[in-house]
Symmetry: C2
Subunit: 625 residues, 2 copies
């Protein structure tokens, strides 16, 4: 166990090593931007899939739609640059909204983000698998299996820790940027030269899928355009990642983070408009079989080495884009756990300086989503953008309040910039929620309030417990009250484990009672005679149980003791077998377990197990250092 764990996860790290794990701008771009950048792999396709219902003649609209999303991206990026400077310790939507707008808006933003991190993993991995099955259609049937394997691998990589993650993810990100640049250049060349093999390829592609874009199924309407716009907004997911992760940058953190954000926005915008332009230029039609990127690359390069390189780098960046969420989800869960809104075990870093519980939960939930939706990107997209734009809007609104509260120079200009961001993203949120509602967005609209309610309940519980537990030295009165107690040892048969338990019980209390429960009076008499031979100095009471239950006679006996010594506690001492092999656990301690369960709620009763180490019981795995 220990060795496997070390091999997979690496040696434990000291707390003070956290500082040395800081990221350079180039590495940070890879870790935090893969989500945003990789979304160009499906954003154009999602726009085209909506437009194609209105006929092939509507596809050109993807270019103006892309341009308007890029304009939105510019506004959001400028907005978030301000957030980075204002919140150098990490200005995620949760923090900004909670700090400036109050707890409830903070929880709404936090819930929206938690949901979206899970969706990011599921959507990105599904799209990555689509890139693979575009190149190798024979694998299409193993879509879900491949996706789950990828999720498992990313989860493991992240349990190893953040610096190694950067090393794993840097090369693929730049490989992807380079290969998409190559596609755009080659495609541009083909297009400008005209009358080349590209058109033949396109004609063939179009002929293969007449159903997809034959004629208009629905009339082109503003609603269709808005829905296409809403689908394309999936390209905007992940833009906030850098502002959440400012403390992970090398010093000066804010400056480096803002520069990285600007670069990310420029690269994203260039790739997005390039792909949309080429798709229209080449007359690409979306198909369930082959991704739009794959079709463009095939036209640009033919099915050669370069084509496969593009597919491979696309799959890689998409699968690794999920990594953005693995940095953010556990960090956000930890913040919320420290505020008492999530169980405390999310608050702590594991021995690799990562938040292990959050990482594992994220892996499990996104795996479930992939399995439920059969690994299809398009099916999950309607769930996706609501949460993103909800948290954008709350975060930017919070920033407006932030500037109005400060007296920094230029605060009004800052407020106007963030106000513009909040207004733009808020309007888009309404468009998305409205146009995608019946396509699945309703689920998120229900889920987020539910999550907020659950988070509130957790906090209320922790608050109530803290209030209940609170006590002052004055209340205690300067010293601990002395308590006395009785010990009860249930006896099944007389053996070494029982003797250890009896011995322990005698050390606890001068009033020790042994009890033996049986359905058979003869067996009871036999046990009494046997008991006499040992000289334990402890009286044995035989209890008869017509219902074969061990528990009820035991509780009745404890009740009797309680009546005799009302103020004393009762400790039930049980032998517990510590097995040498894991499966032996199934073979022992069943009675002990049911006694513990039955007595858990009985006030003034403590159940203690005295471990008996069975021969060959292995020593423990050394505790996490």
């Amino acid at each position: 166990m220990k060795d496997i764990r070390r091999f997979l996860l690496g040696p434990p790290l000291r707390s003070v090593e956290a500082r040395h794990q800081r990221l350079t701008k180039a590495k940070a771009l890879a870790v935090f931007s893969s989500d945003a950048l990789s979304s160009v792999a499906y954003a154009t396709e999602e726009i085209l899939l909506v437009l194609v219902a209105a006929g092939a003649g509507a596809l050109w609209l993807s270019v103006p739609i892309t341009l308007s999303i890029i304009a939105l991206l510019g506004i959001v990026a400028v907005s978030y640059r301000q957030t980075i400077h204002a919140y150098p310790s990490g200005g995620g939507s949760y923090i900004v909204a909670k700090h400036n707008l109050g707890v409830l808006p903070g929880l709404v933003a936090g819930s929206a983000l938690l949901v979206d991190y899970v969706l990011t993993v599921a959507v990105s991995v599904a799209a990555g698998v689509a890139a693979i099955t575009s190149a190798f259609p024979a694998l299409a049937h193993h879509r879900v299996g491949i996706a789950l394997i990828f999720i498992a691998l990313i989860t493991l990589a992240n349990l190893r820790g953040v610096r190694e993650s950067a090393n794993i993810f840097a090369a693929p990100t730049y490989f992807f940027i380079g290969s998409i640049a190559l596609v755009l250049l080659a495609g541009l060349g083909r297009w400008l030269l005209g009358g080349n093999p590209a058109e033949a390829a396109v004609a063939a592609s179009a002929a293969a899928g007449p159903v997809e874009g034959g004629g208009a199924i629905v009339p082109l309407s503003l609603f269709v355009v808005l829905r296409a716009f809403a689908s394309g907004c999936a390209a905007m997911t992940g833009v906030e990642a850098i502002s959440n992760g400012v403390p992970a940058f090398k010093e000066p953190e804010s400056h480096n983070a803002a520069t990285t954000l600007t670069w990310m926005a420029i690269i994203l915008a260039t790739m997005f408009i390039g792909i949309s332009l080429l798709a229209v230029a080449f007359g690409i039609r979306p198909s369930g079989e082959e991704t739009v990127i794959s079709q463009i690359a095939r036209v640009a390069f033919g099915r050669g080495v370069l084509y496969y390189a593009v597919q491979f780098s696309t799959a890689l960046i998409l699968v690794l884009a999920a990594n953005t969420s693995y940095a953010d989800f556990p960090r956000l869960a930890s913040l919320m756990a420290k505020d008492g809104f999530l169980p405390r075990q999310f608050a702590n870093r594991g021995d690799r300086l990562v938040f292990s519980n959050g990482i594992i939960i994220l892996g499990v939930l996104s795996g479930l989503l992939v399995a439920i939706f059969g690994g299809r990107t398009h099916a999950m997209i309607p769930l996706y953008a609501v949460g993103v734009f909800l948290s954008f809007t709350l975060s930017q609104s919070g920033m407006v309040r932030h500037w109005l509260k400060t007296d920094e120079p230029g605060r009004l200009l800052h407020a106007v910039v963030n106000g513009l961001g909040a207004t733009a993203t808020g309007l888009v949120l309404l468009v998305i929620a409205g146009s995608k509602f019946i396509y699945g967005a309703w689920a998120v609209v229900i889920l987020i309030p539910l999550l907020v309610w659950m988070l509130t309940r957790v906090r209320v519980h922790y608050d109530e417990v803290a209030a209940e537990l609170a006590i002052t030295p004055e209340e205690l009165g300067g010293s601990l009250p002395v308590i006395e107690h009785d010990a009860v040892v249930p006896v099944a048969s007389i053996n070494r484990a029982l003797i250890d338990a009896l011995q322990y019980a005698k050390s606890l209390s001068s009033r020790v009672y042994a009890i033996h429960v049986t359905i058979d009076p003869k067996e009871g008499e036999r046990m009494k005679r046997e008991w006499e031979k040992w000289g334990f100095g402890v009286p044995l009471t035989v209890l008869y149980s017509p219902y074969r239950s061990l528990i009820r006679p035991l509780i009745e006996f404890i009740d009797r003791i309680d009546r005799r010594h009302p103020k004393a506690l009762v400790t039930v001492v049980l032998p517990e077998f510590v097995p040498s092999r894991w499966w032996h656990v199934l073979l022992h301690n069943q009675a002990a377990l049911s006694i513990k369960t039955a007595l858990l709620f009985r006030r003034g009763t403590i159940v203690t197990s005295v471990p008996y180490h069975l021969h060959g019981a292995t020593p423990p795995e050394p505790p996490p250092a």
Copy 2:
């Protein structure tokens, strides 16, 4: 919880009530024979499915094959009547083989039966669902879901106890016998009258499925005939059920059981040959869409009320046939657990006088099988007969040894009868294993030795533990050695739960140590000053943990105490929060859990939780009476 449990399972029963749950012959036939009788619903079909590969001209062979299986049934029934008289306390294959041939053959027979009980549930329920989807083809897509619901219902019915089971299952068994009798009579009438609408219906049925019986795909060979015979032997499963269940009969148990067995064999043989004859007479061809029984009933009655009554009664008997296993699997598991081959929790009856653990395990495993095989009877049949005939052979061989050891009059004749049974079933076993090996029987051939090995390991473990625990009064030396111990209380913060724990620790030992683990020296100083205010009379040690781990400093501290008092035990006292709602469990006791896990293997260390009942903690469910 308690009320739901009582509603579903009924009130608890006293041990002495067990006798009053005895079954009359008529009820016993329903409880123990539904498996055997219901197998006629698929046995003929399985024979035809093999023969049809050799062309429609080979289908008539199902009649001689059916007759030879009936001859085998006669031999086995006579054999088992002898077993019933020789083992009035229940002569299952496990007991007979273990008693006469030794432990290993007994375990082989036991394993084979355990596997078959699970398969009986899966196959019967799947065939029952097939009867329903034959009548209502629209339900074919919900095959697995319907099957799982039925399994859940049968499991619940059995958790209620055996007498109620008999009441639930008696009516459907006789309804099925009656409705099949009606089909046979009506079919016979149609056939003898000749030139009637039946032939038109058959022609239509044959025309609808030309693929199923068009031409020969494989040549008719001895191998095909043997394989058809092996498939048909699925009709023999469940014949041993009565001999396992002799003690459940009213007195005179053996006599009543033997009579019931004879009646069961006669009814089974009559229905089986009748169905095979009509299938050949009507030219029925097996189809994936509609069962053979359904086709015969359609020809005999047309699609009227009677047709649906037959389908309904077939579905009912098949789904309820699974009940045979629910009587036998837990009983066998209990016998094997009492012999130390299965975990002890299988040995005990629950508060409804049934073996709850065995019933639940059977439900889960058969549900898994149904899900894995997509609810298709035919896919599971090859797994089925190997185990049945393995246990038949071992049981009959054991009986031969039994007679040779006694000096009863007529013992030689008895030995010859059982020897004939053993030889016949042994030969059939070879035929089945050989002809079905590549079709799935290999899985059972691997599984049974694996199970035997596991059972042996369980027993070895229990034996080793018993030897290790054994001690005599002389070894103890007439009195318990006195032990002393130290108590350690980890402190996170000072509150009422901690005070309860400290108080308890002081009552255990005069040497109590409080420790506080922190990564922050300032926080440690603050805690020390705070501690002074309370006057607990217990020294506080602050431990610094650069690795954020609570466990390692705690263990190092215990090591230090151990060196100071090498002979003393160390008790770690922790507060444990008893929550008022189930989900609160997730919010507490995480640190306590990891301390317990880490210290479980440390010798001489006991971890005690002092329960702190959080406000509103609900009282326990009263223990099982």
